[in-house]
Symmetry: D2
Subunit: 360 residues, 4 copies
């Protein structure tokens, strides 16, 4: 069972509500003797945190992580690493007007159906604030992977589709990704994206996004068929992120349109090195890493909390309307980039350890 | 850990290779006192088995299931249900010519990388033959769900895209699905699909497909946030099927293109019943079932085993070419319909039991 | 995998070191809508905490629990309950003299062998301080069980053997247990026990103990054969407590000496109620609860940290002697009573939920 | 969840009833490329099977194991190893007279309470016949351990207490164990034991036993604190064996009677090698292996199925008497020796792989 725990060997358990005193996570199964500092974690926290630009939620959270256990004299001890992040800028008052209504397209309704009780303040446990914990866990996973398999291991994510606007993936540039508030990889798309997102926000609406993740330097042989395939676990990991509705590995859904020749990534041996002529498989065959870059993408639906009024019902089942004020991201997909990176890093480390167990 | 075991409470473990003496699975955690006969299982087995039409593999397998345990006097006892299916028509000779080569796009290569050994005959454990076991487990899941929540529970799958050819989903007709070899829901597409697939096969090629699954009568409240969300588990389940490269829940990847208003499924109370004005969410909000139909779709890539020669390497790392003869499906996506139904049924039963445990 | 997580449906994950800033645990899978207050938890915390009498460690910890999540308006929400307990009276200096030596019989040595690093301050993660988290989780389990199955459910533990001194179990009196610092159930043994333990302590030595747990009001049918038998899970739970070396169910090890007639607990129907003529089975048959009281006992070895010098080696493998000063329990078994109660309560709630899932 | 599955990485799932067509198990997570033959397995099967002497059940089962998957050209492939053992000598008629009665001290009653249905023939799933599957899995574990850590790894079990009769453990001789039907390690006890057990049987009664297991050559560092401690997992494994009521690690329950000096296993460095002056800990400290021999013992209660009449109730709740004819072991503890060896071997391999994953 894994209600709030992710992973098999390298595992993390998250806890906390959007407007509670704090959120946090406990990372377990971490290899010992890995140098780890708060700085390693804070870098990614800062990439995810809200309030950094006019394109994300204006909630001001510094998202400072404190490590409470599992690290001694700058190194992991192999025991649980407990991390806590205090909530500093919760404004529960904003939620008073909607506390008895359900936002259409939001988990408001189903949490209430399931548990018969919910913390309505800031979305409670449903809030994407929970993902801060994932980013902290993911930063540890990256640090461990960089120690165990070297600096060649790298995960990069980018927004490749912002609502109706795509970008030219041929212009993929990691420096560009780091320097714009959209995590857009294509410099030429930036201006249009900016205008578009401001317009969406001004209109009291929101938009979706597609994020692509690329992991390079991944060893071959990771993935445990049949029901812990690397791609199954990536799909599960990405689909668990708030508002995600679709996951592709490599060519993904579009592979349906290809024929056998077009889809097969032909293999060549060039000067003793294995090279593939294409990467439709996204680096995974039969659920096992092939040595190519792992490519995964996922779609984030538009934010459900919008200003424009929508028809809904309230807790007593009566028809009503809802219009959500407060501080919401016009496109939650943007901040999903470091979250996606975190999740895939955790999956890769987990499978790295699993592979070592059975076949190492 | 769950190498070859799927599920949390209702669990099944599969075993067996394509050309070994038999394949099978052990179903555990099944509720007791559920009437269960071989017939309940064989119906779905027959929908998946090969050799039924000219559009699938010509391997002749009757896929007769034998129950070895866990059923007493026609009822489940709550103890493990072991099922065995003998392999009757394996032709290992067909694989002699490719036993030292890797099929591009196939798990041949990665199994060898991972384990340093592989049973090359018929793809060994990588073969889609393993999915017969899933269908057997899924048939039990359906039977249990129909007993526990009634006949209103139903799962239907269909191929909605065959290679480059779509169909009109507005013509979705379950009777049509049952009567054509493609599991196509739209009568008007049949002729074209038939011509197309024969041409693909004649050309020594293959094509991909998209399958859509619809589950109705699903209770509200199923799904265990955060890391056992109903949609995460469905994504994992479908992605674990051979050759699947993408999974959508509801509007899926396309939800990225919507705005907040378009995506939100507005809620109405009509004569005391909750109705949604649309179903972009695919019946799942925050990882929990909302009472709407669960809608999931997945893409199956084209069969890797094709007649047309492809460039590849052999076990010693030398460049070579490969051309695969033998009995292969020109579109493995077709037979994925009952497999997808089986997997989603198992996920739904598992979550039904989990929900009962925590909140029942 | 379950490094630092206990349980299947009702699960808790503990973290923290003896001399770190805090310890804590995250309880997951808790049923929603259960009234829960800090008071429910603090009662048991106070029974376990050190510094209460001259017979336990003089470390002064108030062990005040703070709930950080999962409870809203006085009720559980079904989401993770995170609890934190700050360490207030750590004296790491006491450990400076032994930081490079291994205490014979202590986990000092094996933690270092396993991880290649260890937090020596107060025993770090090996410290029995971790058990405070278990008691917090167990208090929640008891509260939930009392809500779900009623006040008839009760768990009581007592020390029935203190070093070489036994007691008369026929005098078992719960009021007595609550009022003496040894959790001894037999009033007549108190004086002797007091003299004995003071002598042990004065001698710079320590002693072991046996604790017996009795759970009444447990529903029939709990336990999931074969590998989640109720008694297997109780054995695992109790053996996981620091310094425990043996576990008995019912007559336990002594059942080896019985014959079939003596061991069989004959069954009678008396006025429509099932009665057993004895309870050698400790309330568990075939791993499933029979409706009788669940009886389990466990042995705690003597504290390894003693003043009397012992031969050992240091981190560089050289022979040396060790004499442990600082604040240690002369008999760690005493404070194991509320810990044992907590663990068995967690197992029982877990199995109650599991049984509901499959058979409810 | 782990109803009928044991283990974390090296896992096995058993299925089958005493009088069904067959029993079997699926071993998963086995390292690849390990030479494995039926002979490796059959040796242990023959040590457990009934009908070999007048001191065990007269049921004639050859217990021939067939491997259905997971082994290719004499080596493990890393995929599931499915094994089947056909039931050849079931005499269900013997059970007709007791099919509506419950044997006191037997799982008859609780299975019926739990599931509301049970296969009464030969005890169905409750039968110790299930343990044949464990022995098959354990034989694989031993083979893998001998390959991975060398021939120095060895597990030996013996009956050290037969009912009221002990033996002199100082006479422990492995050759003796192999040559007598009681697995008694002390040649001098044989005659008396033989007389005693024949008398027990003739009297229509049964007796209990204590089995001791010794594992040597176990690497240091195995065991994953806190809730997968090596001793917790051994306790759980042994307690899951039919009729087991107590488990000791090292000095076990008796460690309660020791003082700190007596219990501490002092450590010496002798010519660069670490030596312990005693082994009260049974080779496990803080849940982690110390490099000493692992010593565990467990008590098996007397067989519940005895000829002498006992008072009980029937399925309708009426008082009645029961006298069990048929072929039963007068002391089930005897055949528990290879089962205990199998279980501890599986735990050790599992922890070996787990340790490799996190710390290797």
């Amino acid at each position: 069972m894994s209600f709030n725990t992710f992973g098999k060997i390298f595992r993390f358990t998250t806890w906390g509500e959007s407007h509670g005193p704090a959120i946090g996570c406990v990372v377990d199964g971490c290899p010992p003797n890995i140098p780890l500092s708060i700085k390693d974690i804070q870098i990614d926290m800062d990439r995810r945190r809200p309030g950094k630009s006019k394109f994300t939620s204006q909630r001001k959270e510094s998202d400072k992580v404190e490590i409470l256990s599992g690290v001694f004299q700058g190194k992991t001890t192999g025991t649980p690493i407990s991390m806590i992040i205090y909530n500093k800028d919760a404004k529960s008052r904003d939620y008073e007007t909607i506390k008895n209504k359900f936002r259409p397209g939001h988990a408001d309704y189903t949490y209430f159906l399931k548990y018969g009780i919910r913390d309505y303040r800031g979305g409670g446990r449903q809030s994407a604030r929970e993902t801060a914990s994932r980013v902290a866990a993911g930063a540890i996973a990256k640090t461990v992977l960089n120690k165990l398999i070297g600096k060649k291991f790298k995960v990069t994510g980018a927004v490749i589709q912002l609502g109706v606007l795509g970008c030219n993936k041929k212009n993929w540039n990691e420096k560009v990704i780091r320097k714009n508030p959209f995590f857009c990889p294509d410099k030429k798309s930036l201006k249009l994206w900016e205008k578009y997102l401001l317009a969406v926000r001004k209109a009291g609406s929101s938009c979706g996004a597609i994020i692509e993740l690329r992991a390079s330097g991944v060893p071959t042989g990771l993935g445990a068929p049949i029901y812990s395939k690397l791609d199954s676990d990536i799909a599960s990991a990405l689909m668990s992120i708030n508002a995600v509705k679709g996951v592709n590995i490599g060519t993904g859904m579009s592979s349906a349109f290809l024929n056998g020749e077009g889809n097969s990534d032909e293999i060549r041996s060039i000067k003793g090195k294995v090279k593939f002529k294409s990467n439709n498989a996204g680096g995974i065959l039969g659920g096992i890493s092939s040595g190519q870059d792992i490519i995964a993408s996922f779609a984030v639906k538009p934010t459900s909390s919008i200003l424009n009024p929508r028809e809904t019902i309230n807790k007593t089942g009566r028809n009503t309307k809802i219009s959500v004020r407060g501080r919401h991201d016009p496109c939650v997909g943007i901040r999903a980039v470091p979250i996606g990176e975190a999740m895939i890093s955790c999956v890769l480390l987990d499978h790295y350890l699993m592979h070592k167990a059975q076949c190492g």
